[in-house]
Symmetry: C2
DNA sequence: TATTGTTATACTCTATAACTATA
DNA sequence: TATAGTTATAGAGTATAACAATA
């Protein structure tokens, strides 16, 4: 039912991996276009969301949780600080580390971003049933748990 | 059942879009790592597969079908020609256009790539049931059809 | 000596626009 | 004038290694 004989389609389109990679391209631009109204990109929101979920994370913790390199996090935090969404403070117990505080403006940004992203995602997924969408959601979670270490970690051990 | 209360996870992990984007990262490196044995990247194989599916395509046709810019296709074709996998010839009916021929070596490369990629993908998806994998496959196809024009085209009108 | 955050560097991708040759 | 392929260029993103401050 998926492939009708009248439609010729390059064979890589028959591979789930190819489809998912192309789909992710669309989802990425959708997210960034959605957040453009707020003047930020997805990565900024992801950093803030991570900071709000755990307590007193160092930059290394955030890097590891998000799977981004510590040196790119520097730039993202610079931008978040410049816009007043977060603040870097020294960790008094280990003055090499920073403890990053999310400001009230940062919390408001996350709240509004969540609303906009959920809305955009709902619109994007209207082509598939709620049940199938749930299967996709769960399958993606299982595959990430199987192949990306750190996806379903208990805690980053941030207390230091 | 998906989220156990003992596991804290940043909220963007609850969005299907975020999961699919991260999943696509893994699939992309899996594909390129799999093909590294053959000395090519996914994009080279995609171009060859497209050329084999339709007949006498111009570079513009291939660009549009794959959703890549014509100027990057130039580089990919340069590499494919240098390795003997394809050849550019002038279209006698319109000498501005090229007709790209896939060589026997190119066909062999596609065959071997398909084998390796299918194998790698099967291994990657072992964490989910065959039924759920099919749901993911079909849902991805539906979403691409809904949001990416040109995904399920009838034909590129290549005759010229 | 090892680690945290930072900076510097190079490499890859991408996107835009110019250029040529043909039409 | 418009189109197909090519080239040039600049911008974003990424990955690696060096560096200063602190442990």
């Amino acid at each position: 039912m998926t492939d009708r004989p009248t439609t010729r389609r390059p064979p890589m389109g028959a591979r789930t991996g190819y489809r998912l990679v192309k789909l992710a391209d669309l989802l990425l631009v959708l997210a960034d276009r959605t957040l453009a109204t707020l003047g930020v990109k997805s990565k900024h929101v992801h950093v803030l969301e991570t900071l709000l979920t755990y307590d007193s994370l160092s930059q290394q913790d955030v890097s590891r949780l998000l799977g981004i390199d510590p040196n790119v996090l520097v730039g993202v935090l610079d931008e978040l600080e410049a816009r007043g969404f977060a603040e870097r403070r020294r960790n008094p117990r280990d003055r090499r580390r920073h403890v990053i505080q999310v400001t009230d403006a940062g919390r408001a940004l996350v709240a509004e971003s969540t609303r906009l992203l959920d809305e955009a995602e709902d619109a994007f997924f209207t082509a598939v049933s709620a049940a199938d969408r749930q299967v996709v959601h769960d399958a993606a979670g299982l595959l990430l748990a199987a192949h990306r270490p750190g996806w379903s970690e208990e805690s980053p051990g941030a207390g230091c």
